[in-house]
Amino acid sequence: MKILVAVKRVIDYNVQIRVKEDGSGVVTDNVKMSTNPPDDNAIEEAVKIKESGKATEIIAVTVGEEKAQETVRKALAVGADRGIHVKVDGTIEPLAVSKILKKIVEKENPDLVFMGKQAIDDDCNQTGQMLAAHLNWPQATFASKIEVNDKSLKVTREVDEGLETIEVNTPAIITCDLRLNEPRYASLPNIMKAKKKPIEQINASDLGVDTNPRIEHIKIEEPPKRKAGIKVASVEELVQKLKNEAKVI
C-alpha cells in the first residue's frame, strides 16, 4: 500500500497574527512558519501504518512557494520516504490545490491520501473533500481513529453530535483531526538522513492546472476589539455583577 500525504506551510500556531496596516493581508515577514498542525497528524498516521507493515511507501507532497519545501523535509525526517514539491507563487486556493493534487495522485497511484482537516491560516477546510470529488474517491473527514483493513478503512469521525464511524473502500481520502494521534518529533539522525531523501520539484504551470484565484481579497482587517474587562475580588462580587450589571443570570 502506498500513501500520499499532503502538507502545508503556515504561520506557526503559537504566533500572534498581525494584520498589515494597508489591509492587504497579515504580516508574514520574519514570522515563524511551521507545518499546518493537523498535517503533522496526517504524516504520523501514515508512518504508523507503514511501521505496522501495512504500507510500503509514504510520499509527502506540498504545493506552494520555494520555502514550502521545508514542510516536506520535515515529513521526510519523521518517516516519509520521498517528497514532491509543486512550486507555485502567490495565493493558491483549495480548489486549485486539489486539482494539482489530483495530477500527483494520477502520477503516483497511491491507495490512500492523508492530509489535515483544515489549514490554520485560511481555515477553509476544503482541499481533502475537493480532491476526493475530483477523483471520485470516498472521503473520510475529521478522522480521530483509523483502522486499516485489506481493501477498506474503518474511520471514526469527529462530528457535532459526537463520533461517527464509516467504512470507506480504498483508494480513499482521509482528512485528519488533531486527536488522531500524537505526532512524533524528528530525531537529529533522522533529520540528517532526511537531507539525503529525494524531493522532486514540479512547476504547477507544467501540470496544466489553472491556479488563478477566483476569490478576491478586498480587505483584511483586525477583528473588532473587546472592551477591556475588570477583575473581581470575590465570587460574591462576580455573581452580583452578572446579576445586576451584565444582567445575564
Binding site: 476569490i215 478576491e216 482587517e221 473587546r226
Partner: protein, 317 residues
C-alpha cells in the same frame, strides 16, 4: 436565479443551525429554496415549509439517505442544482464535510464560514482563528457558500406555507458505508445554541472534577464546553470542544474555568456577549477577553459560585 440551501436534519427534525443558515441565505437572495435529502422525512419537509423565509422545499425521499453520506448527498445536490446561483449550507461538521465536494464538481472556489453577507458575491469571513477578518468577493459565476451559524439569527419557524415538491434521488455510492454514530444524549441545551456556556480546561485536572462544572451548568441551565486540552486529556468527549478546530459558540454568557486561553480556544468563544474567566494564573491570556475575571483556585471558586447562585431568588432560563 434562486439560492439553494441544503438542510441538515435527522429525518425527524431540522437541525437548528439550518435555521441560522436560512437567515443568511435569504440575505443573499430572497428566492430561497431548501433541499431536503432524507428518508421518511416528511415531518422535516413540513416544518421547513412553515419557515416564512423559505419559498419552496425540494424533497428527495429515498432510503439511501437514511444516514448522511457526503458522496450520496453530493450526487443528489448536483442532480438538482443547475438553476441556482448559490448553494449554501451551515459551516458545521455537516456542511464542512459536504460543500467542498459539491463545489469541486461544479468547479467553484468555495467561500467557507462567512459571518456576514455584504452583497450576493461579497462576504466577510474570519481567517487565522478569527485573528483577522477578510472581505472576499467571489468571481465565480455561481457560488458555494457555508455559513457560520452563530453569526446569524435563527429564522422564524412558523407562519410560512411554502410548496413542497418531491424530486428524484440520485445514484448511491458503493464505496462508503455508514456504520454507526455515538450520539451523547443530554437534557442540557446544545452547545451551539445555548444561552449560557460553562467550559472547563486543563485546570480541572481530571474528568471527575468536571462534576464541578456540571453542577453549575445544571443550576444555570447551561451547556458544557471544554478546551482542546481537556478533550485531548480525556476529561470530556470531543463534541464539547470549543475553538478553532472545535465548535464556535456565541452565548450571552460564557464562563471559562481553568482555561488559559490559547488563541485557538479564543477563536471559538470570543464573540460571546459576556465572558467570565476563573483562573488561578492572573497572567492567563483568557483574562484579556474576559469582561469579569476572577483570579482564584477553581476548586474553591466553583463550589462558592454554586452556593451564591443558590442564594439568588431567580435565575433567567
Amino acid at each position: 436565479m434562486s439560492v439553494l440551501l441544503i438542510a441538515e436534519h435527522n429525518n425527524k427534525e431540522v437541525k437548528p443551525f439550518t435555521l441560522n443558515a436560512i437567515t443568511a441565505a435569504s440575505q443573499i437572495d430572497q428566492d430561497l429554496h431548501v433541499l431536503l435529502i432524507g428518508s421518511k422525512a416528511d415531518d422535516v419537509a413540513k416544518s421547513l415549509s412553515e419557515v416564512p423565509l423559505v419559498k419552496k422545499v425540494l424533497h428527495i425521499d429515498h432510503e439511501i439517505y437514511e444516514n448522511y453520506i457526503a458522496e450520496n448527498y453530493t450526487a443528489a445536490i448536483l442532480k438538482h442544482a443547475d438553476k441556482y446561483s448559490h448553494i449554501i449550507c451551515s459551516a458545521n461538521t455537516f456542511g464542512k464535510n459536504l460543500m467542498p465536494r459539491v463545489a469541486a464538481l461544479l468547479d467553484i472556489s468555495q467561500v467557507s464560514d462567512i459571518i456576514k453577507v455584504i452583497s450576493p458575491d461579497t462576504f466577510l469571513r474570519p481567517i487565522y482563528a478569527g485573528n483577522a477578518f477578510a472581505t472576499v468577493k467571489s468571481n465565480d459565476e455561481r457560488k458555494c457558500v457555508t455559513i457560520r451559524p452563530t453569526s446569524f439569527e435563527a429564522a422564524e419557524t412558523t407562519g410560512g406555507s411554502a410548496e413542497i415538491e418531491k424530486i428524484d434521488a440520485a445514484d448511491q455510492t458503493e464505496n462508503t458505508k455508514f456504520i454507526n454514530r455515538e450520539e451523547i444524549k443530554s437534557d442540557r441545551p446544545e452547545l451551539g445554541t445555548a444561552r449560557i456556556v460553562i467550559s472547563g480546561g486543563r485546570g480541572l485536572q481530571n474528568g471527575e472534577n468536571f462534576k464541578l462544572i456540571t453542577d453549575v451548568a445544571d443550576k444555570l441551565n447551561a451547556a458544557i464546553g471544554a478546551s482542546r486540552a481537556a478533550v485531548d486529556a480525556g476529561y470530556i468527549t470531543n463534541e464539547h470542544q470549543v475553538g478553532q478546530t472545535g465548535k464556535v459558540v456565541v452565548p450571552d454568557l460564557y464562563i471559562a474555568v481553568g482555561i488559559s486561553g490559547a488563541i485557538q480556544h479564543l477563536a471559538g468563544m470570543k464573540e460571546s456577549k459576556v465572558i467570565v474567566a476563573i483562573n488561578k494564573d492572573g497572567e492567563a491570556p483568557i483574562f484579556s477577553v474576559a469582561d469579569y475575571g476572577l483570579e482564584a483556585d477553581l476548586f474553591e471558586a466553583l463550589p462558592q459560585f454554586l452556593e451564591e447562585l443558590n442564594k439568588l431568588n431567580t435565575i433567567q432560563k
